[in-house]
């Protein structure tokens, strides 16, 4: 089992943990930016193995979690229209919008399809010229280039029944927003390796300098995380704050120039709302002028959508590292993967889901999902 052995080798892990223990002299709070990293940390019990002084704070890097409710509701609206084939990655289907999710739209007769690549959506558009095919383009710098590519291809091959519902977000402005929060406790960052493999590391030195935080580019396997923690802690102990690439097998400083060129061609930077956090300046992409015709929001006129967030959901604080999932009142009681109140309980990269799925045993006792029924229809109806 090469896959397991290479990146999950217990002996190597033990050596890294020894190094970290030897280096630590006082408490440090590190934020792993990406939800994929959160998932690895909780799934493999890495936070249990680290010395008590090292606290991992979960960051905002779950693309599903930060997609604004308004965009989800637009997706639901578009997907419900006759003649539309709505294509999405699987994990968006269970994300609650205002009152329903894409699965329910499909159950009610909507043509909602799970695809594994955005190019599949384009193929579906080619095969169904009399239908409108919409792809739900969400995610960070990792998913943005292939999604940009579909629009580029659609224009090149004059496929007119294809459009993109865009809600792409960029990581560096989010790091900045986290640092600017008055309650911020983060002293170092494990930056998301996948993002850097596209964008490179050029955006980070200025951030590291301005906020005097070490930023270590980190991968997603257990050993990657431990190495990232080790390098961050070592810098903190020495009072350093530089950008270090601890994921050289995937990340070059310049990133992937071809992917960046595609992004620059198809997208332009814009302000974006992050679910639970609010608008962050320059933190997103939208289709640039040349490609506006492929923007599903324009094509389907879904401007006037009224949204309503469940008041008790505190996923905004969870996403900013201000609250641990189990500290939310609703965690495990009214909010479970089966009865999710927020996207962080649905997404495979959401912190609430990771805590609920993997960590229930170690958390301070609370009633379990089985003991406390979810909200009934009546409870949840407003006038």
């Amino acid at each position: 089992m090469k896959y397991v052995d290479e990146f999950q080798d217990p002996d190597l892990a033990a050596r890294l943990l020894d190094d970290i223990r030897a280096a630590v002299t006082r408490p440090w709070a590190l934020m792993e930016v990406c939800g994929g990293q959160t998932h690895t940390i909780i799934r493999h019990g890495i936070d249990q193995l680290l010395p008590d002084e090292v606290e991992l704070i979960h960051g905002p890097g779950c693309p599903v979690c930060v997609t604004p409710l308004e965009v989800i509701d637009k997706a639901l609206e578009i997907a419900s229209r006759p003649g539309v084939i709505f294509c999405s990655f699987g994990d968006m289907l269970r994300v609650p919008g205002t009152g329903r999710d894409l699965f329910q739209v499909r159950g009610a007769g909507g043509d909602v399809r799970v695809v594994y690549s955005p190019l599949d959506a384009l193929r579906i558009a080619r095969e169904n010229p009399d239908r409108e095919v919409v792809f739900f383009g969400i995610g960070f710098e990792t998913t943005a280039p292939p999604n940009a590519m579909t629009v580029y291809q659609a224009r090149k091959h004059d496929i007119r029944n294809f459009s993109l519902l865009v809600s792409h977000v960029r990581v560096p402005p989010a790091i900045e927003a986290v640092m600017q929060s008055p309650d911020c406790r983060v002293q170092g960052f494990l930056a998301a390796g996948h993002v850097c493999s596209v964008m490179g590391t050029r955006e980070y030195p200025a951030l590291a300098e301005r906020y005097r935080v070490p930023i270590v580019v980190t991968g997603f396997e257990p050993l990657d995380i431990l190495e990232g923690v080790r390098r961050t802690v070592r810098q903190l102990e020495r009072g350093e704050h530089s950008v270090v690439n601890a994921y050289p097998r995937a990340v070059r400083d310049e990133g992937n120039p071809a992917a960046r060129a595609m992004l620059d061609d198809v997208f332009e930077v814009t302000d974006r709302a992050w679910r639970g956090i609010g608008v962050i300046a320059d933190s997103g992409w939208r289709l640039s002028e040349r490609y506006r015709a492929y923007d599903a929001e324009h094509r389907f006129q879904v401007g006037d959508i009224a949204t309503r967030e469940p008041a008790e959901c505190r996923s905004g604080e969870v996403l900013q590292g201000l609250l641990k999932p189990h500290e939310c009142e609703a965690f495990g009681t009214t909010c479970t993967p089966r009865t999710p109140l927020g996207a962080t309980m649905v997404s495979s990269e959401g912190a609430c889901a990771a805590y609920f799925l993997y960590r229930r045993l170690d958390l301070p006792a609370r009633p379990t999902a089985a003991a406390v029924p979810g909200p009934s229809l009546e409870d949840s109806t407003v006038g």
Binding site: Y3, I46, Q48, R100, P310, S347, S380, T381, V382
Partner: protein, 346 residues
């Protein structure tokens, strides 16, 4: 119109969603909350894959299953193999020797007869390999657009040998958990064929009949505590069912769980957990500690169990829950899957 402040719980949904057929918590709920009350039964036993019934002094296992797989033919098997092996395995998991099957066929108008010929041939061949006879059947045709070509239903009966009593309730702390071989092959093979994904190597379904393997195990001792074939919902669903049914805790050593590298990398790419991926020719056995080594040896002596390994044990702590010890030495809960697994975004 949109008047809910928070999304309705899945169980309050007014319509069926795909997850209701996924073999996880939603499927169980559908049966428990709708079918069991309507049929006048409340016994947990009715939820298992096959029922043990007495008839004229004989103890019979009785089971039924329907097959709606897309595509009809996939690497390592077809809907015909699944329909035979699925029911044969459900019977075998009661410790029964599978004997007779029925086969119901629902054809969609427009399906090529060549396809029907191929499916029928696969049913016949699988039945011969499994040592069972298809003794009754039925055919219906639905209008074009009302089915995926071919749906099959099989039911089967088999005889449970004296002294064999396989039930979750018999599982006790100290029992050893054995799986018969590599997991995740069927689910990944189907996915790769259906979605046209390639994962470097071709992955074939493990679809196979397990009656012979079970016989070899029972020959060592009739005192196996429980057997399950981890189909929909994968190993995680089977282990959770047994943890809940027995009121014990289960600990799995993650490193011991046999995940073939192509399955591991396909799952990593799609964000799936191999523990939740379907199998069609594997079983998980709960065996009293004193018999574990002998049963393991017997399994390894059979072609369907050549890669059998011990993956964990039953404990008193955390009753009703499955916990994995990770390769690094941490722990995590392995939960009951809710519905289908969803491939993640990046």
């Amino acid at each position: 119109m949109l008047s809910w402040t928070c999304p309705a719980p899945l169980r309050d949904r007014p319509r069926v969603v795909m997850g209701h057929g996924g073999g996880g918590a939603l499927s169980a709920e559908l049966v428990e909350q709708i079918f069991l009350p309507a049929l006048g039964g409340t016994a947990r036993a009715a939820l298992t894959d096959s029922a043990a019934v007495e008839l004229g002094g004989a103890r019979l296992a009785f089971s039924t299953d329907s097959f709606v797989v897309r595509p009809l033919f996939f690497p390592g098997g077809s809907i015909g193999d699944l329909a035979v092996n699925g029911t044969v395995n459900d019977l075998a998991m009661s410790g029964a020797r599978p004997a007779y099957l029925s086969c119901g066929v629902i054809l969609e108008e427009g399906v090529e007869l060549d396809t029907v010929v191929e499916v029928a041939a696969a049913i016949g061949a699988a039945a011969r390999t499994a040592g069972v006879r298809v003794v009754t059947g039925d055919t219906k045709v639905v209008e074009a657009g009302h089915g995926d070509g071919v749906y099959l239903n099989t039911a089967g009966i088999g005889l449970i040998p004296p002294g064999v009593d396989l039930r979750p309730e018999r599982v006790v702390p100290g029992d050893v958990v054995i799986v018969s071989g590599a997991i995740g092959l069927h689910g990944v093979a189907i996915l790769s064929e259906r979605e046209n994904l390639r994962f470097g190597t071709d992955i074939e379904s493990d679809c196979a009949a397990l009656g012979g393997l079970v016989e070899a195990m029972l020959a060592v001792t009739p005192d196996l505590h429980v057997l399950r074939d981890p189909t929909r919902g994968g190993l995680a669903a089977s282990l959770n069912e047994i943890a809940v049914g027995s009121g014990t805790g289960i600990v799995v050593r993650e490193r011991s769980v046999p995940v073939p590298p192509p399955v591991a990398s396909a799952c990593a790419m799609l964000g799936l957990d191999p523990m939740y991926v379907a199998n069609e020719g594997k079983l998980v056995a709960f065996v009293p500690r004193e018999h574990a080594e002998a049963v393991l040896a017997a399994m390894r002596g059979h072609e369907r169990g050549a890669e059998a390994v011990i993956i964990g044990e039953v404990v008193e702590e955390h009753p009703g829950m499955v916990v994995a010890r990770t390769a690094l030495g941490g722990t995590r809960v392995v939960d009951m899957p809710l519905g289908e697994q969803l491939p993640r975004i990046c």
